[in-house]
Structures are given as C-alpha cells and as structure tokens.
C-alpha cells in the first residue's frame, strides 16, 4: 500500500463514519467528530506559530540580522493578557487586550462599513437610473423602489401605517424575493458539498478497492 492510497482510505473511512450519523448517532460518528475538533485545533495552533508569531512577532523582536527591538514586547504582553483569561484570577487582564481588539475593529469598521455598504450602495442605486432602454429603465425603477421601500420596512421609528405602511409592504415583497433567492442558493451550496464528497467516494476511493484486491484497474 502506498501513501497516496492510504490517504484516500483514511479520507474514505472518516467520511463514512461521519455519514453513519444519518442513520442515527453512534460511536463511530462521535469518534471522528472529536478527532476533527482536536486535529483542527492543532492545525490552527501550528499555522499561528509558523505563519504569524514567528515571522510577525518573534523575528520583528529579534531580527535575523541581530539586535533586539523592544517595542514588540507590547503586543506580546497584550497577547499574553488575552490568554490570561483562562485563569479566573488573571481573567480581568484580558480586558486590556479586548479593549485594543474592540477599538481597532470598531474604528476600522465604522468608516469602512459606512463607505462601502452605505454610501457606495446609495450612489449605485441613484446612478442606476441613468441607464437607457425601456427594460433598463423598468429594472432601474424596480431597483430604486425596492431599496427605498426595503429601507422603509426597516425604519421602526415611525408606525407602519398609511403611506409608510404601504411602502413597507412593498419592501417586504422585495425582501421575500431576495430571501427566496438566498434559499435557492443555500440549497445549491449544501448539495454541492454533498456532490464533492460523493465524487471523492465514487471516483477516487471506490476504484482503489479492485486495485488492492489485485483485480487490476
């Protein structure tokens, strides 16, 4: 048995163990489920050491050409404070690290979300009206009316009665179409994952069985 075939068999065994859950929960499924969690955690730790901590922290603090850059002690200490959360006595230190994470995230997201997901979207909606052709104009109108009425639906500071209520109703209708599209795409996504696994079992793993039994192929 070569390493490639062993790899295919390892993959097939864990795949079949996990699919056994479809019949009912069982020890094979539980075993592989727990193995998956442990191995994934190991992968994350190794990549964080090899791809983040060594090149971006350690080698900045102790450059390969020699010397010591003391400023890099600060992020190291903050990272340690984060880990300190594991012990009840030192847990409050993690607030300092969380403060930094939350502050950077909030500062960046505030401007970026406003620019990309609010201003650019409003601009895109307004400029869509400029395009020609009867069908294009109709589509643009649907787009503009859809966005505006959808926003009205999410505006809860005013009661949804009268004109506001009727506009919000148009908004719900547009949202239903969008949610339907999302649902269709979600079904597609889940099935694609299943197809990928079945392609592996039927096209990669199954042909190895006659080979192992010496039946050619």
């Amino acid at each position: 048995m070569n390493w490639e075939i062993l790899g295919i068999w390892l993959g097939a065994i864990v795949t079949l163990c996990l699919y056994s859950f479809l019949y009912r929960d069982n020890p094979f499924y539980k075993f592989v489920e727990h193995l998956f969690v442990g191995m994934s955690a190991g992968y994350w730790v190794i990549y964080n050491i090899e791809n983040v901590l060594i090149p971006n922290w350690w080698q900045n603090m102790f450059p390969p050409e020699g010397g010591f850059n003391g400023i890099w002690i600060i992020p190291g200490v903050f990272a340690l404070f984060m880990i300190a959360r594991i012990l009840p006595k030192t847990a409050s230190l993690s607030r300092l690290s969380l403060g930094m994470i939350v502050g950077v995230g909030a500062g960046l997201n505030m401007v970026s979300f406003f620019q990309t997901n609010a201003l650019a979207q409003v601009k895109g909606t307004i400029f869509s009206l400029a395009s020609g052709g009867v069908w294009s104009i109709f589509s643009s109108l649907v787009l503009v009316v859809g966005v505006v009425s959808g926003l009205v639906y999410f505006f809860f500071s005013k009661a949804h009665t009268g004109v506001v209520g009727r506009t919000a109703n148009v908004g719900i209708t547009i949202l239903m179409v969008a949610f339907g599209a999302s649902f269709g795409y979600t079904i597609m996504a889940r099935l694609s994952l299943l197809i990928g696994r079945f392609q592996f079992l039927l096209e990669d793993w199954l042909p190895t069985i006659p080979r192992l039994l010496g039946l050619g192929g």
């Binding site: 996990l18 403060g99 500062g107 339907g180």
Partner: protein, 207 residues
C-alpha cells in the same frame, strides 16, 4: 480603574484607526500601521486562548468522568498529533502535517458540512409551505433560482437562466442592498458607542 483603562485603550485605538483613514499622514500613519501589526499578534493570542480552553474542557471532562468523556482523549490525541507533526516537520507540502491535513482534516471538515444537504432537504419537505402569497413569492423565487442555476433549467426553457440573472441582479440586489444599508448603519452606531464607552457589554457584563 479596572474599567477606565480598557475603555481608554478602546477609545485611543478606535480614534487612531479613524484618523488614519481621514488623515493618512504622520503621525497617524505611523500609529495606525503599528496598531494594525500589533492587532495581528493580539488576535493570535485569542486563537491560543480558544485552543487552551478546548483542552481545558476536555481534560476536565476526563477528570470528572462526565458524559461522553471517553471521546475526549480522541480530541486531545488529535490535537497533539497535529501539534507534534507541525512542530517537527513544519507546514511544507508532502510532509506529515500536510499529509494529515489533506487526507484527514479536509475530508472530515468537508463531510461534516455536507451532512447539511440531507437536513436542508428534509426541512424543505416539512416546513417550506406556500401558506400565503408572500410565502408563495419566496417559493417561486427559490424555484427560479434553483432551475436557473443548473443546466436542466435551460433544457426546460432557455429563458429560465435569463430570468434568474434578472431576478438576481434587480429584485435580489434591491432586497440585499436594503438589508446591507440598514446593517451598515447599525455597525456605524455600534462602533461609535464602543469607541466612546457607551456600549460596554464586551467587558463581560461588569459595570
């Protein structure tokens, strides 16, 4: 004091990032760039915290012989297997760490999520009801997308993919955009509340 320092750090870090956006010159450029690099290291700490917590939970389960404790050693052994192979051989291609990832972690992860296909089909059969005209509209939209996204749609009628493209580009975009703009305004206000210390739930409920 235990709250003032974290809130001061949040305010300072948040303001540096905002000023760095509007004034990409010194000293904000220098401060912003350093903060961005430090952020990566501190975020790494969060990953270590998560993994240590996982190990803590499972060793506790074994120690106290809690329900399903017999599987906890599997998690710990799986973790150690990746850790040891990674530390000894590194992440290079065709080395034991990479071999274990490609032949065990990848199939396990892919299969775990592919199970959802069965459950989504079962849920659609049981719960997806055209009980009013809006639900019918949702169902129609889903059917159009499901047919338009696959070759069989074009085989049934060649206009189905065109209708799907229009539905995705216009009504879907309108609906998604309304949600997106609304959520963006929410992010802006929550971020401001965090930077100015009004929103403090991330501190863990302490007052």
């Amino acid at each position: 004091m235990r709250l003032v320092i974290p809130l001061a750090i949040t305010f300072t870090a948040g303001m540096i990032m905002i000023l760095n956006f509007f004034v990409p010159h010194q000293p904000f450029k220098f401060l912003g760039e350093n903060l961005q690099e430090w952020y990566m290291i501190v975020a790494s700490g969060a990953i270590f915290l998560g993994v240590m917590n996982l190990m803590h939970v499972h060793s506790r389960k074994i120690r106290l012989k809690q329900k399903n404790w017999k599987y906890s050693p599997v998690t710990i052994i799986g973790f150690l297997l990746m850790l040891v192979t990674g530390l000894i051989y590194g992440v290079a291609e065709n080395m034991p760490f990479d071999y274990l990832f490609m032949n065990m972690v990848a199939p396990m992860s892919a299969t775990m999520f592919s199970l959802l296909a069965f459950f989504v089909a079962s849920a659609a059969f049981r719960a997806f009801r055209a009980s009013n005209w809006r639900a019918t509209l949702l169902l129609t939209s889903a059917f159009l997308v499901m047919l338009g996204q696959v070759p069989i749609g074009a085989m049934i009628w060649d206009k189905i993919p065109l209708a799907k493209v229009w539905l995705m580009s216009i009504p879907n975009t309108a609906g998604q955009r309304a949600v997106m703009i609304g959520a963006a305004m929410g992010v802006v206000s929550t971020s401001l509340r965090m930077i100015f210390g009004i929103e403090r739930s991330w501190l863990g409920g302490a007052d």
